[in-house]
Amino acid sequence: MSSAQSQSLAVAEAAAPASALPRRAQKFSARRIGAVSWWFVVPALAFYFFVVLWPSIEGGAYAFTNWDGLSATKDFVGLAQFQRILTDPAGVGAVVHTLVIAVAITLVQNLVGLLLALGVHTKIKSRNILRVALFTPAVITPVATGYLWKYLMTPDGAINQILGFFGLTWLQHDWLGDSNIALWSIVATVVWQFAGYSMVIFLAGLQGVPEDVLEASTLDGAGPFRRFWYVVRPELAPAITINLMLSIIGGLKLFDQVWVMTSGGPGTSTDTMSTLIYKNAFQFGDFSYGIAMALVLTVFVAILSSAQYKLLGKQGGSK
């Protein structure tokens, strides 16, 4: 058999409908394809194991020691570092701030992202330029965004100057120096950066909404709100799920912007679990305690995000 003939036979065999093959051959073929597929996954799995899993496991083990991050010696201390977390007053504050940030970012970022997506999912001429412009902040590194907004939010910065220019002096604030509003200033910065990111995901969902169904609902007399609620929203459910999941995980892990803009201050008013982990591990020389906090945060994120996924999944969010 020539090689061309054998190739065309193989292609024909692959293209043949499964039902045309005997049952045993079908099972064998599926098993063989499955086995071969696994080999294709091995490089990626190996990469994931050596770059993510193994360092994480090895690092996580330090939480059960008293290593200071520098000394050659370390002793096994069991769960002592985890017990410290329960009695650390700074830890409680950080958990509260982390939750506030995560909830606020999740709600506001997705609401703004959805409104932007609905706005640019129209036939206006500049929609493509608007989409690019609104997405652009998401490609800037969070550290750069933090520095940019820190500069804009200084007492003599652009925001207060603009407010003053429009006679809104009563709105001028020490945005990052006032411990009552510093946390919200950080939330605003994160929303500014990632609302465009949520918008893109919503936009992808909106493009899957069938035009004929929308037209039919319009003919049936549904107004814009009813059309959104009963036709668009169910179709957007997967986009909502993924957006909520990404933003809540991002909010719980938030570090860069907080560190750059306030370093957790004034005082501890913007300390999050991530900044506290950093401080303990690298500034206080209490590395193993920092790792223990990081493990708790990981479990925290996993529980919250999987609970949210299941909840939304039950409502048809994971189509």
Binding site: G69, L70, G285
Partner: protein
């Protein structure tokens, strides 16, 4: 084994091997005998530029590769490098103990070379020697002597018709006079957390450490605490300064750079800072601007006034240095009068070991005189048992300025941090 499986396995093993190499880091960097590696904080860069150039000039064929980074980043990176065996030959360290990269912390972990045999090891003045040592052996070399005080823009002061205060009452009066002239008396960049400590550091030599030189030992022995000491007076005076309008409107929203810029422009008349701020302000101010670093009065008796003055820029040799001989040679150069004076001159500091050939910057003349007269006390954190105390001080001062805590609770938090790592 099946041919395809074999191929896939080979790919997997190759990937795993290459990734293992990645995970091991780039510790195999070369260490040829003519190349010295060094790392320090960004503040040290101008001085390093000068001394490295001079060292290379004196040692033809020698190359010095040095990196500088911001304080937080430096501490994090260098600790990681030391523990993973990839640190440079010479590292910047802090004197004493109360810092993650302090001499005694790093020496205790076994990462600093014992330098006790070097000729200069015993030449440090009594105020500096203990903070370069661990267990009686010398592990670091102090190059400069630094001080904390008020850096006055004398040009702006003259224009406003004001003179630096020498008593506490005079200081409060100075604040109101400056305010009347539309100027800030003391610009405070309290958004940058380490800046928050400088006012207590400038007041406690007069209030705490001068009257009771054994206060650090008393604390260490459990006989004294922050809460039950004159530290409360210092914190009270900090708040008095805030209430008297000594600072600008939003100190917690102002960072270090902005505070120096305000003094350089003459919008503020002074800033309480480390002597290195003299150089930083000079660079930003118009040519000919006169600056002066002076002690901050804390009582109404001018002769009581002392300054915080201590070992400043300090270096150690990595115990696992690839080029230990060259590293020690560089340290010997730094500790020579030529090297030390060049370093101090460039960084607007004083040499750690006073010598007659050093030409003092007029802005630092008072610091030099106080050093000679023994009217200086070591930076407080150099005698604290762990890094948590200093970090707690940063936090409680911000809380105090924001009205979120009171002095008693603030000092109790510091006491608690002190005992945690003792």
């Amino acid at each position: 084994m099946h041919k395809k499986s074999l191929l896939a396995l080979s790919v997997a093993v190759a990937a795993a091997v290459s990734l293992s190499a990645c995970a091991g880091g780039s510790s195999s960097s070369s260490g040829d005998a003519k190349t010295l590696t060094l790392a320090a904080t960004t503040n040290e860069k101008p001085a390093l530029d000068a001394v490295v150039a001079k060292f290379k000039e004196q040692n033809p064929g020698v190359d010095v590769k040095y990196t500088t980074s911001a304080l937080d980043q430096y501490q994090t990176t260098t600790r990681t490098q030391l523990s993973s065996g990839t640190a440079p030959d010479v590292v910047f360290v802090w004197p004493g103990e109360g810092n993650p990269m302090a001499t005694q912390v790093v020496a205790k972990a076994g990462y600093l070379e014992d330098l006790s045999n070097q000729s200069w090891a015993n030449s440090f003045p009594s105020g500096i020697k203990p903070v370069t040592q661990y267990n009686g052996k010398t592990y670091s070399a102090a190059v400069t002597f630094s001080g904390i005080g008020a850096v006055y823009n004398m040009t702006a002061m003259n224009q406003a018709g004001l003179t630096p205060p020498t008593t506490w009452s005079g200081l409060l009066q100075f604040c109101s006079q400056a305010k009347a002239k539309g100027k800030t008396a003391f610009e405070l960049g309290a958004q940058t957390n380490w800046v928050t400590q400088l006012i207590p550091y400038s007041l406690t030599p007069t209030l705490v450490y001068g009257p009771n030189p054994s206060f650090p030992e008393d604390m260490s022995n459990g006989k004294a605490t922050f809460a039950n000491s004159k530290w409360s007076d210092a914190m009270n005076k900090y708040l008095q300064m805030q209430n008297a309008g000594c600072f600008q409107a939003n100190p917690l929203g102002t960072d270090y750079n902005a505070s120096l810029a305000a003094v350089a422009k003459g919008n503020a008349l002074s800033v309480i800072q480390v002597n290195s701020a003299v150089a930083a302000i000079s660079q930003q101010a118009t040519q000919g601007t006169q600056l002066n670093l002076l002690p901050v009065p804390a009582t109404d008796n001018a002769s009581d006034t002392r300054m915080a003055g201590a070992a400043g820029s300090t270096y150690g040799v990595n115990a696992h240095a690839k080029n230990k001989d060259l590293a020690i040679k560089f340290m010997n150069f730094l500790e020579s009068p030529d090297g030390m004076n060049l370093y101090a001159q460039t960084n607007k500091a004083l040499p750690a070991v006073p010598n007659d050939s050093f030409k003092v910057d007029p802005a630092l003349a008072t610091l030099q005189q106080d050093q000679k007269d023994g009217k200086t006390d070591a930076f407080m954190d150099q005698n604290w048992p762990n890094a948590r105390v200093q970090q707690t001080l940063f936090q409680v001062v911000q809380d105090l300025l924001a009205g979120k805590t009171d002095i008693s609770s603030a000092l109790k938090q510091m006491d608690s941090a002190y005992t945690q790592g003792s």
